[in-house]
């Protein structure tokens, strides 16, 4: 799966947890999930759990710590599906 395909699956997951004052148009690969998209830490966990289901992978605690923006998510997903 290339990063474009991953992004297409990832975007709707993130969209689900966006607060009302953030438009889905603001999601891009460099978006910082908590600082720019205003996703709280509890919803960040929900996003990771949804990613696990959609991509059939498992995140570890240290993955969570390195997850800052959309690109981080894409590369973590890529590592795990190829690993």
């Amino acid at each position: 799966m290339n990063s474009e395909e991953i992004y297409r699956l990832l975007e709707p997951i993130i969209k689900t947890y966006l607060p009302e004052d953030i438009s889905a148009k603001e999601i891009n690969r460099n978006s910082d999930l908590t600082r720019e998209l205003n996703i709280n830490s509890a919803h960040l966990v929900d996003i990771v759990l949804d990613i696990e289901d959609v991509f059939n992978i498992e995140f570890k605690n240290e993955d969570m710590e390195s997850l800052r923006n959309v690109n981080d998510a894409i590369s973590l997903i890529q590592q795990k599906i190829s690993g």
Binding site: N40, S41, A42, H43, L44, V45, V48, L49, F59, N61, M64
Partner: protein
């Protein structure tokens, strides 16, 4: 784990402590009780001349037993040396019956998941007749206290 250890680790005190006793706890579920005293401060204003336990207080009681007590149990051994704080992240509760001053309630909470420091539980509150007062889902984050403080 001793049930007393959980109670002693709670970050609350009067007049905002809503846990009396833990009846049972395991990796999957917890059960505890609380009795709403007749002279609790909120009955004075909720409602005027008609004391009834506020829904937010029932929710707080469900969260203290079902999430915080449970979280202390689930955390034990992992971050025992670090001070942790608890933050409520979401609640979705339906209410069925009122709770009057002096009533004893029990709270049963079942774990849905506990991952990445987020605990999500299915929680219900029952009265002395085992009737459902309220039920729903509550989740919270267990945050490590900032050491620089």
């Amino acid at each position: 784990m001793k049930h007393n250890y959980i109670l002693n680790s709670l970050p609350y005190s009067e007049p905002f402590l809503f846990v009396d006793e833990i009846l049972s706890v395991s990796e999957y579920a917890i059960k505890g009780t609380y009795t709403f005293e007749h002279d609790a401060y909120f009955y004075k204003g909720h409602f005027k001349d008609y004391p009834i336990t506020p829904g937010v207080i029932l929710t707080e009681c469900m969260a203290q037993i079902g999430l915080v007590c449970f979280g202390i149990y689930l955390l034990n051994g992992k971050t025992i040396s670090e001070k942790s704080t608890f933050a409520l992240s979401s609640t979705e509760i339906d209410f069925y019956l009122p709770v009057y001053p002096g009533e004893k309630v029990s709270v049963v909470s079942e774990k849905i998941y506990f991952r990445f420091q987020k605990l999500k539980c299915k929680v219900k509150m029952l009265n002395a007749k085992e009737q459902v007062i309220a039920k729903g889902t509550i989740s919270g984050m267990i945050l490590k206290e900032n050491k620089s403080k």
